[in-house]
Symmetry: C2
Subunit: 223 residues, 2 copies
């Protein structure tokens, strides 16, 4: 399962120059993932990234117009990857219960280290999604950016799973709300378990987050 990057295609609206089109571009994406996990998004700068990859700050601006744009790119890459895994896992599954279950697991389970893609470390990327992704859409520019399609991959994933919920219970009134609650909630709980344990009930190594949200969804959509 190596170099399947052909499956992940990112809309040209999300970069100035396609980072997959050059070695430098790939280095930018690859190293930025490592640096954002290490430093946090606030302390991460294009200057530091440039030094680290032996390139210049301004060269990075050829690929992304701002560090915010780079974060948005990473988030869309992540959701494309999740969508791919979701479609793959649910291929030929007729039972909507099974398909929903796969989705919940994908949203709530920790991401394992692997080398599916050459220049993207999904394990670290998942950490970024957990700790930094809210910063991408809690901005004053959210409306214009939403119009430009900055959040469409995430929205598409939510839509897919909402459809599955409606297959199970066509009368359920809040499928999108339930799914976005689960996704955002699972990220929060992972973060809380590490940094603000008083806000959660997770013990190290347990899979209570998966258990909690699986249960929550099952009970919520009961007719």
């Amino acid at each position: 399962m190596k170099n399947l990057s052909v499956n992940i295609s990112i809309s040209p609206d999300l970069y100035s120059k396609n980072p997959e089109s050059s070695d430098l571009g790939k280095k930018i994406v690859c190293r930025s993932i490592e640096m954002i996990t290490d430093l946090g998004f606030e302390a991460f700068t294009f200057k530091k990234l440039g030094v680290s990859i032996g390139s210049n700050e301004s060269s990075i601006y050829r690929y992304f117009e701002s560090k915010h744009a780079l974060l948005v790119y990473l988030i869309n890459w992540y959701w494309s990857w999740i969508e791919y895994k979701l479609v793959f896992a649910n291929n030929n599954l007729s039972s909507p219960h099974d398909r929903l279950n796969n989705a919940i697991h994908l949203f709530t389970e920790p991401v394992e280290k692997d080398d599916e893609y050459l220049f993207i470390n999904e394990f670290l990327l998942n950490k970024i999604i957990i700790s930094e992704s809210v910063k991408a859409y809690y901005t004053k520019d959210v409306d214009t950016e939403n119009e430009k399609g900055f959040y469409k991959t995430y929205k598409r994933v939510v839509q897919r799973v909402s459809d599955t919920i409606l297959e199970i219970n066509p009368g359920f009134k809040f499928p999108h709300m339930l799914i976005s609650t689960v996704i955002e909630g699972a990220h929060h709980q992972r973060y809380f378990s590490k940094h603000l344990p008083a806000l959660t009930d997770v013990e190290e190594g347990e899979n209570s987050i998966v258990q909690f949200y699986t249960d929550l969804v099952r009970k919520s959509i009961l007719k």
Copy 2:
């Protein structure tokens, strides 16, 4: 119900000089709430605040060591206020179901404009909680700040309601997780309904957020 500020007391760890101790301090808090709602937390600066209240940037640093510290102060004020309302509403209510229901309403209902406190606009403060509060604890310094008690008011409110859940179902394993999911979730859904409607099912003016989370909690804690 005017000037009950005697009920809201903020830990001295959360400011350098108590803003309630002087006119300038009150102006700082009052105006910062207005400016953060208008500009967003990123574009808000002490410089701009200074100009707006006819004072100097450096004078504001006497009260708060950074704009981050000011945000943390506001968040703690908000949760003290919520806690006060919670205790007040649940006074002499013996039924844990009723008490839980009051809490869920307090967490999910929109905050109305009123003049309960002289220099704090709770309506705007609630907007800040919805749009900016995640920025306070998604920081690299979260662990040291947590030790300093920066998030204790929020944690105390979650603890209170978790206790109520355990009164209803002592075997329920995830009370903190459920409550923090509801609180964070409700904030997300309010924000989504305005800016990213594809992630929710809320129609303008409806109270579906209250309905959704009330239902969610009820079904979740069933024995």
